[in-house]
Protein backbone atom coordinates (compact mmCIF):
# COMPACT_ATOMS: atom_id res chain seq x y z
CA UNK A 1 0.00 0.00 0.00
CA UNK A 2 1.28 3.47 -0.83
CA UNK A 3 1.07 6.71 1.06
CA UNK A 4 2.02 10.04 -0.49
CA UNK A 5 2.29 13.49 0.99
CA UNK A 6 4.38 16.35 2.26
CA UNK A 7 6.73 15.74 5.19
CA UNK A 8 6.33 17.52 8.52
CA UNK A 9 9.51 17.11 10.58
CA UNK A 10 9.53 16.64 14.35
CA UNK A 11 12.37 15.79 16.74
CA UNK A 12 12.90 13.08 19.37
CA UNK A 13 10.70 12.11 22.33
CA UNK A 14 7.50 13.71 21.01
CA UNK A 15 5.24 12.76 23.92
CA UNK A 16 1.52 12.12 23.92
CA UNK A 17 0.89 15.40 25.78
CA UNK A 18 2.49 17.16 22.79
CA UNK A 19 0.40 15.13 20.34
CA UNK A 20 -2.89 15.71 22.17
CA UNK A 21 -2.81 17.80 25.37
CA UNK A 22 -4.71 16.39 28.35
CA UNK A 23 -7.25 19.22 28.26
CA UNK A 24 -8.86 17.49 25.26
CA UNK A 25 -9.13 14.07 26.90
CA UNK A 26 -12.65 14.80 28.03
CA UNK A 27 -13.73 13.72 24.56
CA UNK A 28 -13.17 10.66 22.39
CA UNK A 29 -14.57 12.33 19.24
CA UNK A 30 -11.97 11.86 16.45
CA UNK A 31 -13.03 15.11 14.73
CA UNK A 32 -12.36 17.21 17.84
CA UNK A 33 -9.14 15.34 18.64
CA UNK A 34 -7.97 15.73 15.04
CA UNK A 35 -8.47 19.49 15.19
CA UNK A 36 -6.07 19.72 18.16
CA UNK A 37 -3.48 17.28 16.78
CA UNK A 38 0.12 18.23 17.76
CA UNK A 39 -1.21 21.30 19.56
CA UNK A 40 1.11 20.73 22.54
CA UNK A 41 4.14 21.34 20.33
CA UNK A 42 2.85 23.10 17.20
CA UNK A 43 -0.43 24.97 17.66
CA UNK A 44 -2.43 25.28 14.42
CA UNK A 45 -0.80 22.15 12.92
CA UNK A 46 -4.08 20.59 11.80
CA UNK A 47 -4.99 23.70 9.79
CA UNK A 48 -1.68 23.82 7.94
CA UNK A 49 -1.55 20.23 6.73
CA UNK A 50 -3.15 18.65 3.69
CA UNK A 51 -4.83 15.27 3.69
CA UNK A 52 -2.22 12.56 3.10
CA UNK A 53 0.72 14.46 4.59
CA UNK A 54 3.31 12.50 6.55
CA UNK A 55 4.84 13.13 9.97
CA UNK A 56 8.56 12.34 10.09
CA UNK A 57 10.18 12.22 13.55
CA UNK A 58 13.31 11.02 15.28
CA UNK A 59 13.43 8.60 18.23
CA UNK A 60 10.75 7.53 20.72
CA UNK A 61 7.74 9.11 18.99
CA UNK A 62 4.57 8.89 21.13
CA UNK A 63 6.21 8.34 24.50
CA UNK A 64 4.29 8.95 27.72
CA UNK A 65 0.69 8.09 28.38
CA UNK A 66 -1.30 5.20 26.94
CA UNK A 67 -3.92 7.55 25.51
CA UNK A 68 -5.15 6.10 22.24
CA UNK A 69 -6.41 9.61 21.63
CA UNK A 70 -2.90 10.33 20.27
CA UNK A 71 -2.89 8.14 17.14
CA UNK A 72 -6.64 8.78 16.77
CA UNK A 73 -5.93 12.54 16.64
CA UNK A 74 -3.16 12.16 14.05
CA UNK A 75 -5.27 9.88 11.88
CA UNK A 76 -8.34 12.13 12.11
CA UNK A 77 -6.28 15.21 11.25
CA UNK A 78 -5.63 13.62 7.86
CA UNK A 79 -2.04 12.49 8.28
CA UNK A 80 -1.60 9.32 6.18
CA UNK A 81 1.26 7.74 8.15
CA UNK A 82 4.12 8.47 10.54
CA UNK A 83 7.75 7.65 9.78
CA UNK A 84 10.15 7.71 12.75
CA UNK A 85 13.46 6.30 13.88
CA UNK A 86 11.58 4.65 16.72
CA UNK A 87 8.21 4.60 18.46
CA UNK A 88 7.26 4.22 22.09
CA UNK A 89 5.80 0.79 22.70
CA UNK A 90 2.22 1.72 23.59
CA UNK A 91 1.93 4.27 20.76
CA UNK A 92 3.20 1.56 18.40
CA UNK A 93 0.54 -0.93 19.54
CA UNK A 94 -2.22 1.67 19.55
CA UNK A 95 -1.45 2.74 15.99
CA UNK A 96 -1.37 -0.80 14.63
CA UNK A 97 -4.50 -1.64 16.61
CA UNK A 98 -6.54 1.20 15.08
CA UNK A 99 -5.16 0.37 11.63
CA UNK A 100 -3.04 3.51 11.39
CA UNK A 101 0.21 2.89 9.50
CA UNK A 102 3.53 3.80 11.11
CA UNK A 103 6.99 3.02 9.79
CA UNK A 104 10.32 2.64 11.50
CA UNK A 105 13.23 3.91 9.46
CA UNK A 106 16.74 4.46 10.72
CA UNK A 107 17.67 6.36 7.58
CA UNK A 108 14.75 8.58 6.52
CA UNK A 109 14.43 10.98 9.49
CA UNK A 110 18.04 12.12 9.15
CA UNK A 111 17.62 12.99 5.48
CA UNK A 112 14.08 14.27 5.10
CA UNK A 113 13.51 18.04 5.43
CA UNK A 114 10.28 19.83 6.20
CA UNK A 115 8.13 20.04 3.07
CA UNK A 116 9.78 17.20 1.11
CA UNK A 117 7.35 15.16 -0.98
CA UNK A 118 7.43 11.52 0.20
CA UNK A 119 6.02 8.22 -1.05
CA UNK A 120 5.91 5.19 1.23
CA UNK A 121 5.64 1.67 -0.17
CA UNK A 122 4.76 -0.39 2.87
CA UNK A 123 5.00 -3.82 1.20
CA UNK A 124 8.53 -3.27 -0.04
CA UNK A 125 9.61 -1.26 3.01
CA UNK A 126 10.74 1.66 0.87
CA UNK A 127 10.36 5.40 1.41
CA UNK A 128 10.93 7.55 -1.69
CA UNK A 129 11.85 11.20 -1.31
CA UNK A 130 10.39 12.64 -4.51
CA UNK A 131 11.84 16.12 -3.84
CA UNK A 132 15.42 14.92 -3.31
CA UNK A 133 15.24 11.84 -5.52
CA UNK A 134 16.42 9.62 -2.68
CA UNK A 135 15.27 6.25 -1.39
CA UNK A 136 15.35 5.00 2.22
CA UNK A 137 14.62 1.63 3.79
CA UNK A 138 11.99 1.08 6.45
CA UNK A 139 11.41 -2.01 8.60
CA UNK A 140 9.02 -4.51 7.03
CA UNK A 141 6.61 -5.80 9.66
CA UNK A 142 5.89 -9.47 10.30
CA UNK A 143 2.80 -10.81 8.50
CA UNK A 144 0.89 -10.89 11.78
CA UNK A 145 1.15 -7.12 12.16
CA UNK A 146 0.61 -6.45 8.44
CA UNK A 147 -2.61 -8.43 8.58
CA UNK A 148 -3.92 -6.33 11.50
CA UNK A 149 -3.31 -3.12 9.53
CA UNK A 150 -4.77 -4.62 6.33
CA UNK A 151 -7.96 -5.60 8.16
CA UNK A 152 -8.32 -2.07 9.49
CA UNK A 153 -7.29 -2.79 13.08
CA UNK A 154 -7.13 -5.38 15.84
CA UNK A 155 -10.84 -5.67 16.55
CA UNK A 156 -11.64 -6.46 12.91
CA UNK A 157 -8.92 -9.09 12.92
CA UNK A 158 -10.15 -11.00 16.00
CA UNK A 159 -13.89 -10.85 15.33
Amino acid sequence: MDYRGKAWRFGSNIDTDAIIPAIYLHTSDPQILGKHCMEGIEPGFSERINRGDIIVADDNFGCGSSREHAPVAIKAAGISCVVAKGFSRIFFRNSINIGFPIFESEEAPGKVENGDELMVDSDKGVIINVTRKEEYKSIVYPDFIKSIIAKGGLLNSIK
Binding site: N13, D17, A18, G64, E68, V72, I90, N94, L154, K159
Partner: protein, 420 residues
Protein backbone atom coordinates in the same frame (compact mmCIF):
# COMPACT_ATOMS: atom_id res chain seq x y z
CA UNK B 1 19.26 -21.49 28.20
CA UNK B 2 17.08 -20.49 31.14
CA UNK B 3 14.29 -17.95 31.12
CA UNK B 4 13.68 -14.67 32.94
CA UNK B 5 10.68 -14.23 35.23
CA UNK B 6 8.94 -12.21 32.50
CA UNK B 7 9.53 -14.91 29.86
CA UNK B 8 8.29 -17.64 32.21
CA UNK B 9 5.07 -15.82 33.05
CA UNK B 10 4.36 -15.11 29.37
CA UNK B 11 5.14 -18.73 28.40
CA UNK B 12 2.76 -20.06 31.08
CA UNK B 13 -0.01 -17.82 29.79
CA UNK B 14 0.60 -18.73 26.15
CA UNK B 15 0.40 -22.44 26.96
CA UNK B 16 4.03 -22.94 25.96
CA UNK B 17 7.01 -24.58 27.60
CA UNK B 18 9.23 -21.71 26.65
CA UNK B 19 9.33 -18.44 24.76
CA UNK B 20 12.20 -16.36 23.38
CA UNK B 21 12.47 -12.58 23.05
CA UNK B 22 11.01 -11.32 19.78
CA UNK B 23 8.49 -14.15 19.53
CA UNK B 24 4.88 -13.03 19.00
CA UNK B 25 2.44 -14.90 21.24
CA UNK B 26 -1.19 -14.85 22.25
CA UNK B 27 -1.34 -14.86 26.04
CA UNK B 28 -4.22 -15.35 28.44
CA UNK B 29 -4.82 -12.33 30.66
CA UNK B 30 -5.79 -12.63 34.33
CA UNK B 31 -7.06 -9.09 34.74
CA UNK B 32 -8.10 -6.32 32.34
CA UNK B 33 -8.78 -2.82 33.60
CA UNK B 34 -9.27 0.75 32.51
CA UNK B 35 -10.13 4.11 34.04
CA UNK B 36 -12.96 6.55 33.40
CA UNK B 37 -10.99 8.20 30.59
CA UNK B 38 -9.48 5.31 28.62
CA UNK B 39 -12.44 3.12 29.55
CA UNK B 40 -14.84 5.31 27.62
CA UNK B 41 -12.89 4.83 24.38
CA UNK B 42 -12.48 1.09 25.09
CA UNK B 43 -16.22 0.68 25.62
CA UNK B 44 -16.81 2.54 22.36
CA UNK B 45 -14.41 0.25 20.44
CA UNK B 46 -15.88 -2.85 22.09
CA UNK B 47 -19.39 -1.90 21.02
CA UNK B 48 -18.40 -0.79 17.51
CA UNK B 49 -16.75 -4.17 16.98
CA UNK B 50 -20.07 -5.79 17.84
CA UNK B 51 -19.00 -7.69 20.95
CA UNK B 52 -21.84 -8.38 23.36
CA UNK B 53 -20.16 -9.82 26.44
CA UNK B 54 -16.88 -9.71 28.31
CA UNK B 55 -14.78 -12.86 28.79
CA UNK B 56 -15.15 -12.84 32.59
CA UNK B 57 -17.30 -10.48 34.65
CA UNK B 58 -14.93 -10.65 37.61
CA UNK B 59 -11.74 -10.01 35.67
CA UNK B 60 -12.76 -6.83 33.88
CA UNK B 61 -12.58 -3.79 36.13
CA UNK B 62 -13.20 -0.10 35.58
CA UNK B 63 -11.81 2.37 38.11
CA UNK B 64 -12.97 5.98 38.01
CA UNK B 65 -9.89 7.97 38.99
CA UNK B 66 -8.91 10.46 36.30
CA UNK B 67 -11.77 12.94 36.29
CA UNK B 68 -13.41 12.30 39.62
CA UNK B 69 -15.51 13.73 40.98
CA UNK B 70 -16.40 14.84 37.42
CA UNK B 71 -15.24 18.40 36.85
CA UNK B 72 -17.61 19.17 33.98
CA UNK B 73 -20.36 17.70 31.86
CA UNK B 74 -18.08 15.95 29.32
CA UNK B 75 -16.24 14.17 32.12
CA UNK B 76 -19.50 13.25 33.82
CA UNK B 77 -20.65 11.81 30.49
CA UNK B 78 -17.48 9.70 30.14
CA UNK B 79 -18.10 8.23 33.59
CA UNK B 80 -21.78 7.75 32.86
CA UNK B 81 -21.14 5.83 29.64
CA UNK B 82 -18.70 3.52 31.42
CA UNK B 83 -21.16 3.07 34.31
CA UNK B 84 -23.98 2.12 31.93
CA UNK B 85 -21.71 -0.35 30.15
CA UNK B 86 -20.69 -2.00 33.43
CA UNK B 87 -24.33 -2.46 34.37
CA UNK B 88 -25.21 -3.83 30.93
CA UNK B 89 -22.36 -6.33 31.13
CA UNK B 90 -23.15 -7.22 34.76
CA UNK B 91 -19.58 -6.46 35.87
CA UNK B 92 -18.91 -6.89 39.55
CA UNK B 93 -16.52 -3.95 39.63
CA UNK B 94 -17.06 -0.37 38.57
CA UNK B 95 -15.35 1.56 41.31
CA UNK B 96 -16.55 5.07 41.94
CA UNK B 97 -16.12 8.03 44.25
CA UNK B 98 -16.21 6.93 47.88
CA UNK B 99 -15.13 3.36 47.13
CA UNK B 100 -12.22 4.20 44.97
CA UNK B 101 -8.58 5.01 44.69
CA UNK B 102 -6.06 5.57 41.94
CA UNK B 103 -6.22 2.35 39.92
CA UNK B 104 -2.57 1.31 40.40
CA UNK B 105 -2.79 1.89 44.15
CA UNK B 106 -6.25 0.41 44.57
CA UNK B 107 -6.06 -2.88 42.63
CA UNK B 108 -3.07 -4.36 44.54
CA UNK B 109 -4.69 -3.21 47.80
CA UNK B 110 -7.93 -5.05 46.84
CA UNK B 111 -5.98 -8.25 46.23
CA UNK B 112 -6.69 -8.17 42.50
CA UNK B 113 -3.00 -8.64 41.57
CA UNK B 114 -1.17 -11.91 42.19
CA UNK B 115 2.40 -12.99 41.50
CA UNK B 116 2.68 -14.73 38.14
CA UNK B 117 -0.37 -12.96 36.65
CA UNK B 118 -0.56 -11.37 33.23
CA UNK B 119 -2.30 -8.02 33.62
CA UNK B 120 -3.17 -5.39 31.06
CA UNK B 121 -4.60 -2.00 31.86
CA UNK B 122 -5.56 0.86 29.60
CA UNK B 123 -3.20 3.20 31.41
CA UNK B 124 0.52 3.47 30.91
CA UNK B 125 1.30 3.08 34.63
CA UNK B 126 -0.18 -0.42 34.73
CA UNK B 127 3.44 -1.58 35.03
CA UNK B 128 3.19 -0.65 38.77
CA UNK B 129 1.73 -4.10 39.50
CA UNK B 130 5.08 -5.69 38.62
CA UNK B 131 6.09 -4.91 42.22
CA UNK B 132 4.17 -8.06 43.18
CA UNK B 133 5.94 -10.32 40.67
CA UNK B 134 3.26 -10.08 37.98
CA UNK B 135 3.72 -9.24 34.30
CA UNK B 136 1.74 -6.00 33.99
CA UNK B 137 1.78 -3.76 30.96
CA UNK B 138 -0.05 -0.64 29.85
CA UNK B 139 -2.06 -0.80 26.64
CA UNK B 140 -4.43 1.43 24.71
CA UNK B 141 -8.19 1.33 24.51
CA UNK B 142 -8.41 -0.99 21.49
CA UNK B 143 -6.14 -3.53 23.17
CA UNK B 144 -8.35 -3.20 26.24
CA UNK B 145 -11.48 -3.84 24.15
CA UNK B 146 -9.90 -6.92 22.54
CA UNK B 147 -8.71 -8.29 25.89
CA UNK B 148 -12.13 -7.66 27.48
CA UNK B 149 -13.80 -9.63 24.71
CA UNK B 150 -11.39 -12.52 24.35
CA UNK B 151 -9.47 -12.79 27.61
CA UNK B 152 -6.25 -12.89 25.63
CA UNK B 153 -3.99 -10.53 23.75
CA UNK B 154 -0.97 -10.57 21.44
CA UNK B 155 2.43 -9.73 22.84
CA UNK B 156 5.92 -9.58 21.49
CA UNK B 157 8.06 -11.30 24.14
CA UNK B 158 10.41 -8.56 25.38
CA UNK B 159 14.11 -8.80 26.01
CA UNK B 160 14.95 -8.15 29.67
CA UNK B 161 17.32 -5.62 31.20
CA UNK B 162 18.43 -6.55 34.71
CA UNK B 163 19.14 -3.82 37.25
CA UNK B 164 21.15 -4.81 40.31
CA UNK B 165 21.13 -2.35 43.22
CA UNK B 166 24.00 -2.96 45.65
CA UNK B 167 24.43 -1.59 49.14
CA UNK B 168 21.88 -0.25 51.60
CA UNK B 169 20.16 3.09 50.94
CA UNK B 170 20.71 5.72 53.65
CA UNK B 171 17.86 7.38 55.57
CA UNK B 172 15.27 9.22 53.40
CA UNK B 173 16.64 7.76 50.16
CA UNK B 174 13.69 5.98 48.61
CA UNK B 175 12.56 3.88 45.68
CA UNK B 176 11.80 7.17 43.90
CA UNK B 177 15.45 8.21 44.09
CA UNK B 178 16.56 4.80 42.80
CA UNK B 179 14.21 4.82 39.83
CA UNK B 180 14.89 8.46 38.91
CA UNK B 181 18.63 7.71 39.08
CA UNK B 182 18.08 4.69 36.82
CA UNK B 183 16.05 6.62 34.23
CA UNK B 184 18.66 9.37 34.34
CA UNK B 185 21.32 6.80 33.50
CA UNK B 186 19.57 4.83 30.74
CA UNK B 187 17.36 7.62 29.32
CA UNK B 188 13.66 7.85 28.53
CA UNK B 189 14.01 5.30 25.75
CA UNK B 190 16.65 3.17 27.46
CA UNK B 191 14.24 0.28 27.99
CA UNK B 192 11.83 0.74 25.06
CA UNK B 193 10.03 -2.54 24.27
CA UNK B 194 11.99 -4.23 27.08
CA UNK B 195 11.27 -5.73 30.51
CA UNK B 196 13.02 -4.08 33.47
CA UNK B 197 13.89 -6.58 36.21
CA UNK B 198 14.85 -4.98 39.54
CA UNK B 199 17.06 -6.91 41.94
CA UNK B 200 19.91 -6.70 44.44
CA UNK B 201 20.39 -6.35 48.19
CA UNK B 202 19.06 -2.78 48.24
CA UNK B 203 15.73 -3.98 46.86
CA UNK B 204 15.32 -6.42 49.76
CA UNK B 205 15.44 -3.46 52.16
CA UNK B 206 12.73 -1.51 50.32
CA UNK B 207 9.09 -1.50 51.40
CA UNK B 208 6.50 -2.75 48.94
CA UNK B 209 5.38 0.87 48.54
CA UNK B 210 8.87 1.79 47.34
CA UNK B 211 8.85 -1.13 44.92
CA UNK B 212 5.50 0.00 43.50
CA UNK B 213 7.08 3.42 42.90
CA UNK B 214 9.95 1.86 40.96
CA UNK B 215 7.79 -0.50 38.88
CA UNK B 216 5.43 2.43 38.23
CA UNK B 217 8.09 4.47 36.46
CA UNK B 218 9.40 1.64 34.23
CA UNK B 219 7.29 3.22 31.49
CA UNK B 220 9.21 6.49 31.85
CA UNK B 221 12.25 4.61 30.52
CA UNK B 222 10.05 3.14 27.76
CA UNK B 223 9.79 -0.24 29.52
CA UNK B 224 7.12 -2.76 28.61
CA UNK B 225 6.97 -3.91 32.22
CA UNK B 226 8.90 -3.54 35.46
CA UNK B 227 9.15 -6.59 37.67
CA UNK B 228 10.39 -7.69 41.09
CA UNK B 229 10.83 -11.16 42.54
CA UNK B 230 8.54 -12.23 45.37
CA UNK B 231 10.15 -12.23 48.83
CA UNK B 232 8.92 -12.43 52.42
CA UNK B 233 7.78 -8.79 52.33
CA UNK B 234 5.68 -9.48 49.22
CA UNK B 235 4.10 -12.49 50.89
CA UNK B 236 3.26 -10.42 53.98
CA UNK B 237 1.63 -7.79 51.72
CA UNK B 238 -0.41 -10.43 49.90
CA UNK B 239 -1.48 -12.47 52.95
CA UNK B 240 -4.48 -10.39 54.06
CA UNK B 241 -5.44 -9.52 50.48
CA UNK B 242 -5.14 -12.48 48.12
CA UNK B 243 -7.22 -15.48 49.11
CA UNK B 244 -6.60 -17.69 46.09
CA UNK B 245 -3.48 -19.70 45.23
CA UNK B 246 -0.71 -18.26 43.17
CA UNK B 247 2.51 -19.54 41.70
CA UNK B 248 5.79 -17.84 42.54
CA UNK B 249 7.96 -17.61 39.44
CA UNK B 250 11.66 -16.66 39.37
CA UNK B 251 14.32 -16.01 36.77
CA UNK B 252 16.67 -18.92 36.10
CA UNK B 253 20.31 -18.37 37.04
CA UNK B 254 21.29 -18.89 33.38
CA UNK B 255 18.57 -16.61 31.96
CA UNK B 256 19.67 -14.37 29.12
CA UNK B 257 19.63 -10.60 29.62
CA UNK B 258 19.93 -7.93 26.93
CA UNK B 259 21.84 -5.74 29.40
CA UNK B 260 22.82 -5.85 33.06
CA UNK B 261 23.31 -2.59 35.00
CA UNK B 262 24.79 -2.52 38.49
CA UNK B 263 24.38 0.51 40.73
CA UNK B 264 25.80 1.14 44.19
CA UNK B 265 22.95 2.81 46.07
CA UNK B 266 25.31 4.31 48.62
CA UNK B 267 26.33 6.63 45.75
CA UNK B 268 22.71 7.70 45.21
CA UNK B 269 21.62 10.93 46.89
CA UNK B 270 18.31 12.82 46.51
CA UNK B 271 17.37 12.80 42.83
CA UNK B 272 15.33 15.40 40.96
CA UNK B 273 14.06 15.14 37.37
CA UNK B 274 14.15 18.62 35.87
CA UNK B 275 11.65 19.70 33.22
CA UNK B 276 10.79 18.72 30.56
CA UNK B 277 11.75 15.03 30.82
CA UNK B 278 11.77 12.30 33.48
CA UNK B 279 15.20 11.42 32.10
CA UNK B 280 16.64 14.85 32.86
CA UNK B 281 17.78 13.74 36.32
CA UNK B 282 20.30 15.45 38.59
CA UNK B 283 21.32 15.15 42.22
CA UNK B 284 19.48 17.72 44.31
CA UNK B 285 22.82 19.13 45.46
CA UNK B 286 23.66 20.06 41.85
CA UNK B 287 20.56 22.05 40.91
CA UNK B 288 20.98 25.24 42.90
CA UNK B 289 18.17 27.24 44.47
CA UNK B 290 14.87 26.66 42.70
CA UNK B 291 11.83 28.48 44.10
CA UNK B 292 8.59 26.54 43.88
CA UNK B 293 4.90 27.60 43.72
CA UNK B 294 3.15 24.29 44.31
CA UNK B 295 4.01 20.96 45.92
CA UNK B 296 2.01 17.84 45.07
CA UNK B 297 2.45 14.69 47.15
CA UNK B 298 0.49 11.72 45.84
CA UNK B 299 -0.44 10.05 42.53
CA UNK B 300 0.01 6.43 41.43
CA UNK B 301 3.77 6.84 41.87
CA UNK B 302 3.85 8.09 45.49
CA UNK B 303 0.36 8.15 46.99
CA UNK B 304 0.81 5.14 49.28
CA UNK B 305 0.81 4.93 53.06
CA UNK B 306 4.61 4.94 53.45
CA UNK B 307 4.73 8.07 51.30
CA UNK B 308 2.17 9.75 53.56
CA UNK B 309 4.13 8.68 56.65
CA UNK B 310 7.40 10.07 55.33
CA UNK B 311 5.80 13.38 54.35
CA UNK B 312 4.08 13.70 57.74
CA UNK B 313 7.23 12.88 59.66
CA UNK B 314 9.04 15.74 57.93
CA UNK B 315 6.14 18.22 58.17
CA UNK B 316 5.11 17.42 61.76
CA UNK B 317 4.97 20.52 63.95
CA UNK B 318 5.94 22.84 61.08
CA UNK B 319 4.11 25.08 58.65
CA UNK B 320 4.47 25.09 54.89
CA UNK B 321 6.05 28.16 53.34
CA UNK B 322 3.38 30.87 52.87
CA UNK B 323 4.25 31.20 49.16
CA UNK B 324 3.62 27.51 48.51
CA UNK B 325 0.39 25.67 47.78
CA UNK B 326 0.73 22.12 49.08
CA UNK B 327 -1.67 19.47 47.83
CA UNK B 328 -1.59 16.00 49.36
CA UNK B 329 -3.47 13.17 47.72
CA UNK B 330 -3.74 9.79 49.46
CA UNK B 331 -3.95 7.11 46.73
CA UNK B 332 -7.03 5.31 48.02
CA UNK B 333 -9.84 5.52 50.56
CA UNK B 334 -8.09 2.85 52.67
CA UNK B 335 -4.86 4.86 52.72
CA UNK B 336 -6.81 8.04 53.49
CA UNK B 337 -8.49 6.33 56.45
CA UNK B 338 -5.26 4.83 57.72
CA UNK B 339 -3.53 8.20 57.41
CA UNK B 340 -6.39 9.75 59.34
CA UNK B 341 -6.15 7.15 62.12
CA UNK B 342 -2.39 7.60 62.37
CA UNK B 343 -2.81 11.37 62.71
CA UNK B 344 -1.03 12.09 59.42
CA UNK B 345 -3.92 14.03 57.94
CA UNK B 346 -4.05 16.25 61.04
CA UNK B 347 -0.31 16.88 60.65
CA UNK B 348 -0.85 17.96 57.04
CA UNK B 349 -3.77 20.22 57.83
CA UNK B 350 -1.96 21.84 60.76
CA UNK B 351 0.98 22.42 58.41
CA UNK B 352 -1.44 24.31 56.10
CA UNK B 353 -1.46 21.69 53.36
CA UNK B 354 -4.64 20.80 51.48
CA UNK B 355 -5.69 17.14 51.54
CA UNK B 356 -7.66 15.85 48.56
CA UNK B 357 -9.72 12.76 47.88
CA UNK B 358 -7.92 10.09 45.80
CA UNK B 359 -7.65 11.26 42.17
CA UNK B 360 -5.15 11.48 39.30
CA UNK B 361 -6.11 15.18 39.02
CA UNK B 362 -3.02 17.40 38.94
CA UNK B 363 -0.51 14.75 37.83
CA UNK B 364 -1.94 14.64 34.32
CA UNK B 365 -2.97 18.30 34.31
CA UNK B 366 -6.64 17.35 34.46
CA UNK B 367 -7.97 19.23 37.49
CA UNK B 368 -7.37 19.79 41.24
CA UNK B 369 -4.14 21.77 40.97
CA UNK B 370 -3.43 23.14 37.49
CA UNK B 371 -0.45 25.49 37.15
CA UNK B 372 -0.61 29.00 35.70
CA UNK B 373 1.86 30.81 33.43
CA UNK B 374 5.49 30.29 34.45
CA UNK B 375 4.63 28.53 37.71
CA UNK B 376 6.81 25.76 39.07
CA UNK B 377 5.71 22.61 40.87
CA UNK B 378 7.72 20.03 42.76
CA UNK B 379 5.72 16.82 42.57
CA UNK B 380 6.05 13.18 43.54
CA UNK B 381 4.35 12.33 40.24
CA UNK B 382 5.89 10.60 37.23
CA UNK B 383 5.98 13.00 34.26
CA UNK B 384 7.22 16.53 33.72
CA UNK B 385 6.65 17.04 30.01
CA UNK B 386 5.97 20.55 28.67
CA UNK B 387 2.59 21.68 30.00
CA UNK B 388 1.98 18.41 31.82
CA UNK B 389 0.46 20.07 34.91
CA UNK B 390 -1.06 23.10 33.23
CA UNK B 391 0.13 26.18 31.33
CA UNK B 392 2.66 25.56 28.55
CA UNK B 393 5.26 27.67 30.32
CA UNK B 394 4.74 26.02 33.71
CA UNK B 395 7.34 23.53 34.94
CA UNK B 396 7.28 20.30 36.93
CA UNK B 397 10.19 18.92 38.97
CA UNK B 398 9.92 15.27 40.05
CA UNK B 399 11.24 14.00 43.37
CA UNK B 400 10.51 11.77 46.37
CA UNK B 401 7.91 12.46 49.09
CA UNK B 402 10.74 13.33 51.52
CA UNK B 403 12.10 16.03 49.20
CA UNK B 404 8.56 17.22 48.43
CA UNK B 405 7.72 17.63 52.13
CA UNK B 406 10.96 19.51 52.81
CA UNK B 407 10.30 21.71 49.77
CA UNK B 408 6.80 22.54 51.02
CA UNK B 409 8.32 23.84 54.26
CA UNK B 410 11.22 25.74 52.70
CA UNK B 411 9.63 27.13 49.53
CA UNK B 412 12.55 26.00 47.38
CA UNK B 413 13.69 22.48 46.43
CA UNK B 414 15.17 21.27 49.72
CA UNK B 415 16.46 18.16 51.48
CA UNK B 416 14.83 16.68 54.59
CA UNK B 417 18.02 17.47 56.53
CA UNK B 418 17.37 21.20 55.99
CA UNK B 419 14.12 21.04 57.96
CA UNK B 420 14.62 18.19 60.43
Amino acid sequence: MGMTITEKILAMHAGKKGVVPGEIINARVDLVFANDNTGDLAVDQFKKAGFSKVFDKNRVIFVADHFIPPKDVSCAEQSRRVRVFCREMGLSNFLEVGRVGIEHVLLPEMGMIKPGDVIVGADSHTCSAGALGAFASGVGSTDMAAAMAKGELWFKVPETIKFVYKGIPVRWISGKDLILYTIGRIGVEGATYKAMEFSGEAIATLTLDDRFTMANMAIEAGGKNGIFHVDQKTIEFLKPRVKTDYEIVSSDPDADYAEIHEYDVTDISYQVALPPSPGNVKSLSDIGNIQIDQVVIGCCTNGRLEDMRVAAEIMRGKETNPHIRTIIIPGSQEIYLQALQEGLIETFIRAKAAVSLPTCGPCAGLHMGILGEGEKALATTNRNFVGRMGHKTSEVYLASPAVAAATAIKGYIATPEEVM
